[in-house]
Symmetry: C2
Subunit: 96 residues, 2 copies
């Protein structure tokens, strides 16, 4: 199992647009990706411009397949337009 | 729902001990906490001394109850002895 934490800093005034795109993306992931076990957007309690996608994948193949979907690529472009800085994406292996 | 990402940096040579305590803690959380929906230890792919606990709680009460268990307090002391620096703990609200 693979874990991903993608931290995004959103430009002032873009929060509502960002959250709408994020919610639509979550719905599409849930409907289409059996190997994506967790895909949840969260907003920081300490900084209103900071969000994470908390993600768990059954395998490297599932992670790769997620990134290759048309809806992920389309959402990525829309989310990118809301960012105030570079995303920080960290990848993890499960400990079990 | 509340999300937590607790990032821990482990001292060289302490990885095995840390992982054992972490696995025991995960088992106890799973057995005892219906309001703790995700509680998973992950190891960074880019830095072998960096780990996270990826956590999701049904409510603030569930998060508080988790922190007050005897087994969490006992594990916290053991995990603390393996650390090379201060934990970085971030708290999030779900976007849904």
């Amino acid at each position: 199992m693979i874990g991903v934490v993608a931290k995004l800093t959103i430009a002032e005034g873009k929060n509502a647009e960002f959250e709408e795109v994020g919610k639509d993306l979550m719905a599409k992931v849930k409907a289409n990706e059996s190997g994506t076990l967790t895909y949840q957007l969260y907003k920081s309690k300490s900084d209103p411009q900071t969000y994470i996608f908390m993600e768990e994948y059954a395998s490297e193949d599932a992670l790769k397949a997620h990134g290759q979907t048309d809806y992920f690529k389309a959402a990525g472009a829309k989310l990118g337009a809301c960012l105030a800085g570079r995303p920080e994406i960290e990848y993890f292996d499960i400990v079990e």
